[in-house]
Subunit: 286 residues, 6 copies
């Protein structure tokens, strides 16, 4: 391929991005960041590149991250045994302090650093900062010592303030209540709540699977709320995919235009989802 | 090549554009538009795509167009004989009215329409609109009936107003003086004057040649003011390239960061110049 | 008359203008400009003076111009035969290009220049610029080659942007659609559409008659929608006055406070209409 | 004279005002108001009309008023004897309270009311309001009980705040110091100090004479600082005119473009001064 | 008490104020100022301190003052006999001019001066300034020569303009109508009307009594509209308290959160009312 | 003491605060938070109350915290041995990750929570967030594995953005460089650098001593740069006080008005320092 051909192909790719840039200009895109994309060096770097590019071409990316493995790792170093009931971490007060320390003090800052290195201006927050996320004990949690929480309400003022200054918010999924209690909240649900509160255009949930698969294990590119509910009923969708599906459905039922469960193992998964028609996972609509 | 590979290559190209997007964010780029890029259908469309993409990723493109062939064509249809002295159109009052009519009423609006079709919001102006360009008879022109002019001063207020509203200015190279006289001004020089008045980052001059060639007819990718002057002295650069060189030099001597004489026959020449290191012509620095 | 008396009379006239200045402060006045006021040197100058004065005392004048005679003149110079069906110019593609060229490239710039000479800052636009006027083929036009159009919609953003910068918009009555087709639209209707879209206080239509006359050929100073319809039914109002009446009625039925058909042959007709109680034509109310 | 002729003459007068409107657009004009113009019913009304018109056509009039006769009148009603030394009112504490009460409580409000009736929005202030005028005992006044003052400094913030809201400030010539003492300050000097602090375009001082007269008692239309000093030296200018001359000279020496001593007995003296070339008094330049 | 204890107590008091500062941040508090607080030197100074502190901690105090005794005093000095019918001053034209002169020219400026001395920036207004208060003859007043008025409407623009500039408005209870007539309006009612027009958080009415007393002459700390009406019916509340009660009730029925009749004889009554739970009078709620 | 007396004393205290509120209105106060004030429950709460009160009365407090004991505690729980050389923590990569985790993930969020509970809106940041603090290896540190750093530069944009939104920034003393390296920087020096970059009015350093003591162990209330240097030379000031002194001197030499080393063990030390003349420690001036 000659040099001119190569350049031509580059130009063509940039121009093919134009309709997507136009469509999402000025729109908020909430991204749940986790899985392989958060642990594998190449994918981490590519994720940060994607986020910074999105910001520069006029979108408002807002990142919510998880951090399960790192939390369990730190607990083990401290001689504590991570426990889960139905996939939810048992969070006694001491565990809560480890969760917060690892999420806000280690993972969050690592993501901010990556974004900064790619030329963006990341700002890390928890739900405590600027009173962003008011939490409460998860309904159903009977143990009054449990810090497993859910989102009671979102005050988006700090996000709006940061966006005026062209900063990229990076959020740890921690909530707080008026008494100062701290809550460990599922990051998918925090992302969904933020997408709703910010009237986001899209909620993108990065996973370590190809997307939602039908009973033949074939990827379903696009699916309506109704069909998803059928898939759940038939037991085809289940397990760890459930909170992601719930987060996605809850957002599209409350004003978010589309939710996507995408394959975070694909390099530049965000860009491919945003800038191409085929996308890299399953799109969920109301 | 598999689909995933193809997507990956696309993503890579977009990410390669990021440093350029960051470098030119919020910067003004004045573009002299003319030659093949203004007459060949494919190139016209690609030019408009490039301009709109530049706008969406945060640059402020300002377009100055010429229109020699179309003016001569209309003159001939009206039974007038186009005349040139040393490459400058002899512009008596009747010719002036044809020049203005064709530039402002036909070519300018065609460019605006192309930009609009690509998703931009073009606004066509002459130097009369908003009192943008104050002109005067070109120094040296003795004929008091001549409307061949030069730029006396630029009032950038209308450009600034339009840029706040995310409009793309498209400018016909016509000036006016306080008595309401109209002047036909070389478009390269108008582009250079605007670049200076707007403290532009770059002046891009589209031509129908590869760029500045050395005595072996090899493209010179980058050249300083001093070297250009040597090339002129040695007679290597001459003829129709001279006003472009002068426009380029005048701008870089007056605060414009770089000027480029680029090959408008290359598809997406603007994007390639802006978004790649090698560029597509000759870069001129102070 | 002594000098002091003269001065006193001057002061009195200025003061008599005060209630009108107060009444129209900050209001948009759309003016259809055409006829003798656009061809006779003295009237042209006086028109521009009036517009600039209106701007300085706080109104927002918006000018829409026609240009029939000049278009036909250029067509004849080019060996083309102007044709009209029921008063509407037959507009094949070649005619359309002449119409646009003459309106946008000659007449529009002449008006802008006049306004600038009187101390205003005119900015010429067509419906293409800033995507101001979306047009479509006039309903009823069966010939698919016809460029006779009507207003599909108005996007006033460019007008609002210019008014913030204290510019005076001067608009050629040309529309465009998403495919980039150009439409030749009756200037009275464009003025009416703009008046509606801008929630104008007044629509002023300059004509070469005294106003609407009753069956005794006496000027009717003020007339309601109902009475006008009766005059049309009775055949008293007809011919070239019809599109003006329609434009006027359509505007006052859609939120414009008053429309006026005024005598453009009277020097300073705009000022007299705006700044005196008697006015210089016929006022039409909803 | 026919109706059309009459209308034409009106329009001509309005248009003749245009260059003056343009010249003074956005400029501050400080007006010392007093004498016949403040006591004769017709002149009062005309003064208010002039001020409101000035405001509507884009100027920023600021009014400073005196009130000597009314103060003396109230003193006599209260059985006090007004006393003057070299033209300056002897101002003991009790007199000061009468001065303030009459200026701020009666005269100021009468002027505000007149302006409001003409369609303006007047706001009355003393130097105390918004800490506008810091005063001190007039240098040379030995009596420590004397409230005869001079301007120590001006804080124009309240004027600027009111002008943003399109209000017209009307100011009583009273200053105050940090201890809360009140000072009775010559209104000509207050007007001059305000003109300087506001970087006014003009200072207009209304008097009950034609202007500055030469030794043949002929009006001098325009005079330089140097010539005025000669007139004073020669004893041709003296008496009550002196503080007005001093106020005028002090302002033009400190950045005010022109000062005018004008004949307030002429109806619409302000308009004639602002809107005609001949003016109605004497212009003083630096 | 040691020095550290003293400091500690100071800090404690400041911190106790915090919840009140937070509760009233950005809120408008209209204060009717009169009685002992306006005549006794210590109370006057304390009142001004309170108002300035309120401003600095983020509230928007708006002061309306009366001035009955001073008006009667001036009338007597001028040989006029103050007359009252059912507590309302008989206000013929001459009395009106005394009322205005004393309120706007003496009392208002004294309050402004006090506020300025405490570090605030007071600006004195009557209802004429900025067309703040449109008045009309009090309904029931048959004498067409009477200037006893009531509030017809309030235009809060001047208050809003001043608040943006961090000025503290001080208002004399005088209204005006379109003919320029002046009205003497009960200050309690002016304060109530302003509180309503400004959507104030609170209306505070300073009196020379402890508050509303029950039939045992015991202070009622808080009372509802219904209970007040019962107290009036039973004759327990009557006389000079009636207009205050009416003003308070009218405000709380029209969107003002709470009205308070407080004891202006207590030093720092405003601060105690705003910054403590017990308050210093009677709170009236809707 | 009667109730009225008590209230009166409260009012008096509030009013005594007024001059301080006025003096510091709109000013930035950088506070180095550490020692007992950061560990003892009552002092922590009082600190947060003080900060929120400062914010509400118009100051801009910016908090920089340390956290040595908590870091060492966590290191020990993880089986690591904290080491110090000349008072500076030996910071190898693993230690750095503990430092960051504890500062940003535990201590910072605890302070934010306290501020939120008192009614403020805290936002926690490290030097990474918004690229606030660019760090580099401390000059003199030879070990290339050492993360002991110093401030290379401060970009205050994120602080300014947060202050526009009425948020209170709480900053962990961590810097980063362009390669993404993390630096552990002395909190006193970070506070000093921020005070300089923000042109702060004051730098307040909370310590666990009474202030700077002279050779008789008596508190020195106020000291100049010169005297401090003498005290150091004479060995009277030394040890842990040295970095605090250096931070204070560096700030006052670079535009900060005053620096204070205050006794954080005193309840409400901030308020006492800000709102009383005597203060609670040693004031250092340039």
């Amino acid at each position: 391929m000659t040099n001119i051909d190569l350049l031509g192909r580059k130009a063509k790719t940039l121009i093919e991005a134009l309709p997507y840039i136009q469509a999402f200009f000025g729109k908020t895109i909430v991204i749940k960041y986790g899985g392989a994309a958060m642990t594998e060096a190449g994918l981490k770097r590519q994720f940060a590149e994607d986020v910074v590019l999105m910001k520069y071409v006029g979108m408002h990316p807002v990142i919510v991250h998880g951090g399960g493995p790192q939390i369990s790792g730190m607990m083990k170093r401290l001689g504590m045994e991570p426990k889960f009931i139905e996939g939810v971490r048992v969070t006694d007060p001491e565990t809560m302090s480890i969760v917060e320390m690892v999420l806000a003090g280690t993972i969050n800052k690592e993501i901010v650093t990556l974004i900064n290195q790619m030329g963006g201006k990341g700002v890390g927050l928890t739900g405590k900062d600027g009173r962003l996320i008011k939490g409460r004990r998860l309904s159903g949690q009977e143990d009054t010592m449990s810090h497993v929480g859910e989102v009671a309400s979102v005050d988006p003022e700090i996000i709006n303030t940061l966006e005026e200054g062209r900063f990229i918010p990076v959020i740890s999924p921690i909530g707080t209540d008026e008494k100062g209690n701290t809550y460990n909240i599922n990051a998918d649900l925090v992302a969904s709540s933020l997408a709703k509160a910010l009237s986001a255009e899209k909620l993108l949930i990065l996973t370590d699977v190809a997307g939602i698969l039908d009973q033949k294990k074939t990827l379903i590119p696009s699916v309506s709320k109704k069909t998803v509910e059928k898939l759940i009923q038939d037991g085809i969708v289940h397990g760890g995919m459930m909170p992601k599906i719930e987060a996605a459905l809850s957002s599209v039922e409350n004003g978010v235009h589309k939710a996507h469960i995408i394959d975070g193992r694909v390099p530049h998964a965000l860009l491919l989802e945003i800038f191409t028609d085929q996308g890299v996972g399953t799109e969920i609509t109301a």
